[in-house]
Symmetry: C2
Subunit: 339 residues, 2 copies
């Protein structure tokens, strides 16, 4: 058994209350006694039990991180990066993070992750799009909540977002600047705020550049922005309109799929068409040509979200409905070129 506060008290010749106060740097304790206590602690290699502390303070030192299982399983390590970001800041702040996934079809009757029910976490960070039913159920617990990379429908939460609209604008504007006129957008799950924002940015860019927005150049009926669906979307796009010279895919996964379609069908990139993605995943650099994209600072999303959470937890400020929008950055590589 590891030593308890009692052992320390005995060794230091003081009461357990004094030990506790000394540990927490309470002013009422003399430096003399504090040092006595500290020495005993060191000699015994004492560390307070988290469970015991938690029972009385009603804190655990843990933060929950939840996302849907399909996001968790994605090929591109997007949410993994966000998770790692949260991990970076917890390290410096005496917290740990517990990961849990929920079903992407979470229904009202479903149970929340156990760590919420059993109060094993002091707050939860929700990453990516999650079902409304989940948010509603979660909101009933008075537990600090931070959303990252998803804008929840009910707008009174802390949110850390990507500047998707601006990113979409930058992407499309880049193509415009290269002289393209017939610029397509391929997307999926357009009900997703991030994706529809990117589309909005695209439209803004065309509009301000005096380029007509053609519905036939907007392919958005795939259900999930994955490689295969990028392939499918590209197929339908090019079968419909042979004049397209540039494609903006709503994310890199779809861009990779589109690139594959082009390779399979003799469409040269960037010779025949320029292609730009969104996210900036690892894979982009390995592609041939490397993919021009809009970089989403994934790790930073995580660190920001956790910073908000740590603030929330320490300041006890009831509810900050804070929005943090992290900027994106156009990364020009080989898949786009002047027409």
């Amino acid at each position: 058994m590891s030593p308890t506060i009692k052992d320390v008290a005995k060794k230091a010749g003081v009461s357990i209350a004094t030990v506790s106060l000394a540990i927490h740097n309470n002013q009422r304790i003399t430096t003399i006694t504090r040092n006595k206590v500290l020495r005993a602690i060191k000699e015994l290699n004492y560390h307070p039990s988290r469970s015991a502390k938690g029972l009385v303070t009603k804190t655990t030192g843990n933060i929950g991180f939840v996302l849907t299982d399909d996001h968790f399983l994605k090929t591109e390590p997007f949410y993994t990066m966000i998770f790692l970001g949260t991990e970076f800041v917890t390290r410096g702040n005496d917290y740990y993070v517990l990961l849990a996934t929920i079903n992407k079809d979470f229904k009202e009757g479903d149970e929340l992750p156990r760590f919420i029910l059993e109060r094993s976490v002091d707050g939860v960070i929700v990453a990516g799009k999650v079902p409304d039913a989940f948010i509603q159920k979660l909101s009933k617990f008075d537990m600090p909540l931070v959303f990252v990379d998803y804008f929840p429908p009910v707008d009174d939460h802390c949110v850390v977002m990507v500047d998707n609209t601006r990113g979409g604008y930058q992407a499309a504007k880049h193509l415009v600047d290269l002289g393209h006129k017939e610029i397509a957008f391929i997307g999926a799950d357009i009900t997703h705020p991030s994706i529809s924002d990117r589309l909005t940015g695209y439209k803004q860019a065309l509009e301000t550049s005096g380029i007509e927005i053609k519905q036939s150049n907007i392919i958005i009926d795939e259900d999930y922005p994955a490689r295969q669906n990028g392939y499918n979307a590209a197929k339908r796009l090019f079968e419909k309109n042979k004049n397209v010279t540039a494609v903006f895919a709503c994310n890199d996964a779809m861009a990779i799929g589109a690139m594959q379609y082009c390779a399979d069908n003799g469409i040269k990139i960037p010779g025949d068409v320029s292609l730009i993605g969104f996210d900036d995943v690892e894979a982009d650099l390995l592609l041939n040509p490397p993919l021009t994209t809009v970089r989403v600072p994934k790790v930073e999303l995580g660190t920001e979200a956790m910073n908000v959470m740590v603030n929330l937890l320490s300041s006890k400020s009831a509810n900050c409905a804070k929005k943090i929008v992290v900027p994106v950055e156009l990364i020009v590589r080989g898949s786009t070129r002047k027409i």
Copy 2:
């Protein structure tokens, strides 16, 4: 405040002991009372507090997962996959996993991760190579330990390993079978058991095939198996020996670096030289040509490790010095061909 066991007891008209027994399906409780209790629990939406339970049972329901910071930061999501694997099995087993990194230069005086000191975890899984000092310090805690993807020097721990020797053999044998005779091995950190095992497998394959093992074809003095070092190793190899027709890189990261070197220097793959890696990371498929490799079942490593841990925890079997060796699989893609 969420309801406590007292609230349930009151509502059900029984004592808190009865509630506790009912929850744990104790046989002594009648079905009648159990149902009464269960109903009260449901009505109140009661969930036992983990902290309180932990204080008395001395369990937390958490497992620690530790790796060195440099592994954590690696480009290739290798340990991430192992981590995800552990996550899969915890989900079904009422555990959560806490992630912590340690410095790769962990020294004797350094502190262990806080979750170990504060007993916030019931056991710890150590992933990848970690400093001896860490293992020694950790071993002093009588806490279940499982090593995954690293064979600790002191051999009385549970270990989940990859069959590196066999994998090295398969890789080199594949090249031999394609008719290659001048087969090089490029590696790094040869003190790492996994890497030296792969080299051992390589040597075995050449030996049993009657091919001379030339020291000049074994480049192993890089310090870490990363892309850049693969590039460097390839450079030194080809500057030394122009007759090499096949290269076995100790992992995919180095293979990717080697591929880059070849691309930069007009060496065609697989036209001029065949190249095989080890690990099977996501990136392999995006390379041109896609990389032939030996697949390490990363997620499975994680699930196996966590399974061992869960067994350890439930069976209370003092110390199983169990070794699990998970098999690898040759994945032939475009980077190798008949000479």
